[in-house]
Symmetry: C2
Subunit: 476 residues, 2 copies
């Protein structure tokens, strides 16, 4: 193990060096759980902010500004003196030499490693769809989706050809999971509540919002009854929900859909196997998820197993098989929940699970440092909730007396309180509450900026034949 | 005049068609002043938002989120039914055929035209400096500057070479006008108040913030006494203010500065004509301003005069010479203020002047529609103010009893109230107040996101040898 690398936090330190890759829910919790441990922690993330992903769809739909759901990572660790945070992209992990390699060529030696690099969207091998149907996993993704949605309305005001305008006013969300449901519901609200009255050449409330789901119902992690209620609430908002609708092609004109057999998709329109096209200029991908490429990299180096989504199969204690000094947590881990003599159950890819894994891996790491045996991971499932739009959501809570299920306005209020509560940082909580209170009363959306579309003036400033401008007197 | 163009707002309308190019302070006021006129107005802007430029430096220094100083243009005109707003870039003006040409190839015919396209920064013919010293005129500019400032600190934590680290921790602002003074003061605050405690390998408060001004004092539009006070306040914040410092070269390593003769720059360091270099990775341009290229385009078509900064010399009533149907206002106009028998005085390039010109051009336009004579423009100068940092500003007010001048905390409070008051939109005013109250008490800065640096995951998600991810069951 090399001690000459620049990033040994302190060359003379005998304290164990912990490297945590990724500062999402899992990585952040792991680092915090080691706050009073006598270790040197380095947290590496490729962005400078922890992102509250459950509200990312609000940035994509212009309801929240990016800073409202982001907290600077080094601010979060300001008081935790055993943490050094670094902005950097991890490109490889040397599991033999025990070092993490950054894109800049630097390496971070570790005694213990926590890999919490998360997941991204996946196009199931159809990467050419990415250009036409962006997904929403990062702030950059979200502002790009926001730009596309707002630009479609802007162009519809400029373009008077009815066929083109209809394609501009057709918004398609692919995937009926929580993100897809939230996106579709919010898109419908934008067309019906936010924009009416602002255009002179068309009526925004005539926009067509479709939610396509390949399976037989939306929100498949929920009980069927709540899926049905969510579908009803979506339809009440004006969303055209199509289950049993498999996307077979996407390009810049729109997409092609194949109708599933009735057994697969109960509400499928038309006969099974029928294909039809939807002309749309704004297609949003909320369908597939794949683990970070670091999963495959660990597989290559250690021979560990990964599942079809690229997630690493971990030991019961969340360590990497054969590497008790490496922990894999969050969306990158194919983990199982252990409870007494029950059969281990797969852990879902949700933020409460990532946080629990972060705390558990940190606790096991401390046990190992103290020479104690590690404990198997047990996932506490508190339930599931999804919002649909203003005043509508579905909630499915786990309780000792059985499941508690409700929907509508009370579910929406519950969802709101839960999300505000878990949002990182007091400042952001207040901001988001303020934004939502304001949006609720006015139906307005705060962050309607088409930013990426703006030409960078320093390069575009001068006309080709324009002579250089004269300096004002006295300026450099 | 062609009537076949798609954008005649209503083909059968006999109402005069007004086109307003640019929705900054001038264009927005002109359109609003025509609210009850029997005309069809089209407002064209290349962004979808009106920008409150006086606070743009706050976005560049991570104090405010972009939406806090931006209002969607079509939202501002929602109730004004005689306005159609269009997102588009004007590339030419056909003053003979009376039509405005958009980049998309479309043309907007007009009976009356208001050109309010504003200004951008100018590198005085040294456009190669743009890449190394971005200016701040648009939201895109501001987020790019924010990215550079935050990235410099991030890299300083990663890079341990003392020479490189010093260049990363040296921030240079070029130009001692209001924007330069605000930027330098805020940069000093970030290093001294916001960031301390967050880095493990260096002390952020040791960062070096320089303000370079070619002339003999900062804030040259102010009386010398207030310039002196501003300089004192900047120095108290830790800014290294250098007047008589002319920039002769900028590249990715830093810049070269030439010391002016003592007559030019009173506080110049070293002997006159001496050259020295400053190693800096973050150089910000706040020096030169040039009018929109549309000024030169009008000159080419009509033979009108433009000054060295590309501004159009207009008639006393703000119309284009020889074209009583075209009005040029705001930073694009080299206008003069007329008052009784006094000698006409140049109108400064500030937002109150742009707003007054907008209202005046609209009033003259209505007079012309009614066959009345137009009136010469008179600029009401209420004074001048500039902020320097927390609790410090300088104010120079014009009053019937003579100038009122003050600085320090009261001036800062005055500046704050004035800016909040003039900020467009109740929503934004509250937001900004909230952000500032929070920043004031905590010294924290809200919007510390390095967004542009984030890789777009949809393309970068898969490792080269990674097979396509499997679809989760039931998803499209």
């Amino acid at each position: 193990m090399s001690m000459s690398t620049t990033h040994a936090p302190s060359p003379v330190s005998a304290r164990p060096r912990i490297v945590i890759v990724g500062c999402g829910f899992g990585g952040l919790e792991a680092a915090r759980a080691l706050a009073d441990a006598d270790v040197d922690i380095t947290v590496v993330d490729r962005t400078n902010h922890h992102l509250f992903q459950p509200l990312l769809y609000q940035v994509a739909t212009a309801g929240l500004a990016s800073p409202a759901i982001s907290a600077p990572i080094r601010r979060l660790f300001r008081e935790q003196r055993n943490v050094t945070s670094l902005l950097g992209e991890v490109v490889d992990i040397d599991t033999q030499g025990q070092a993490v390699l950054l894109q800049t060529g630097e390496s971070l030696p570790y005694d213990h490693l926590v890999v919490a690099a998360g997941a991204t969207h996946s196009y199931f091998g159809r990467d050419e769809w990415a250009a036409h149907a962006p997904g929403i996993k990062t702030l950059a993704d979200a502002t790009e989706v926001r730009r596309r949605i707002l630009m479609a309305y802007e162009e519809a005001e400029r373009i008077h050809d009815p066929v083109q305008r209809e394609a501009l006013l057709t918004f398609v969300v692919i995937g009926g999971g929580p993100t897809g449901v939230e996106m579709a519901g919010t898109l419908a609200e934008i067309s019906r509540r936010t924009l009416p009255g602002e255009f002179r050449h068309f009526e925004p409330s005539h926009a067509h919002v479709l939610l396509l789901e390949g399976g037989s119902r939306v929100l498949q992690a929920m009980p069927p009854e709540l899926s049905r209620r969510a579908e009803e609430q979506l339809k009440a908002l004006g969303v055209d929900v199509r289950t049993g609708a498999k996307v077979t092609h996407i390009d810049e004109q729109g997409l092609e859909v194949e109708t599933a057999s009735p057994a697969e998709g109960a509400a499928a329109a038309g006969e099974a196997g029928a294909r039809y096209t939807i002309r749309s200029k704004t297609v949003i991908w909320a369908a597939g998820v794949a683990a970070s490429p670091l999963g495959r990299i660990l597989q290559r180096h250690t021979g560990c197993e990964t599942d079809r989504a690229g997630r690493v199969t971990v030991e019961a204690d969340l360590s990497l098989p054969g590497h008790p000094e490496v922990w894999v947590i969050g969306d990158l881990a194919a983990a199982r929940s252990h409870h007494g003599n029950e059969l281990p159950k797969p852990v879902p890819g949700v933020s409460p699970a990532a946080k629990q894994m972060g705390r558990h891996a940190a606790a096991n790491l401390r046990r190992r440092l103290q020479g104690q045996a590690t404990l198997p991971f047990h996932y506490r499932d508190y339930g599931n909730l999804a919002t649909i739009g203003r005043n509508s959501a579905v909630v499915d809570l786990t309780s000792p007396v059985g499941p508690i299920r409700f929907s509508g306005w009370t579910a929406w209020l519950f969802w709101l309180v839960a999300h505000i509560y878990f949002l990182i940082g007091f400042r952001n909580r207040l901001m988001v509450l303020f934004d939502w209170a304001s949006a609720y009363w006015s139906s307005q959306r705060y962050a309607r900026i088409i930013a990426n579309n703006e030409p960078h003036r320093s390069r575009a400033a001068r006309a080709p034949d324009q002579p250089p401008a004269a300096p004002p007197p006295g300026e450099a």
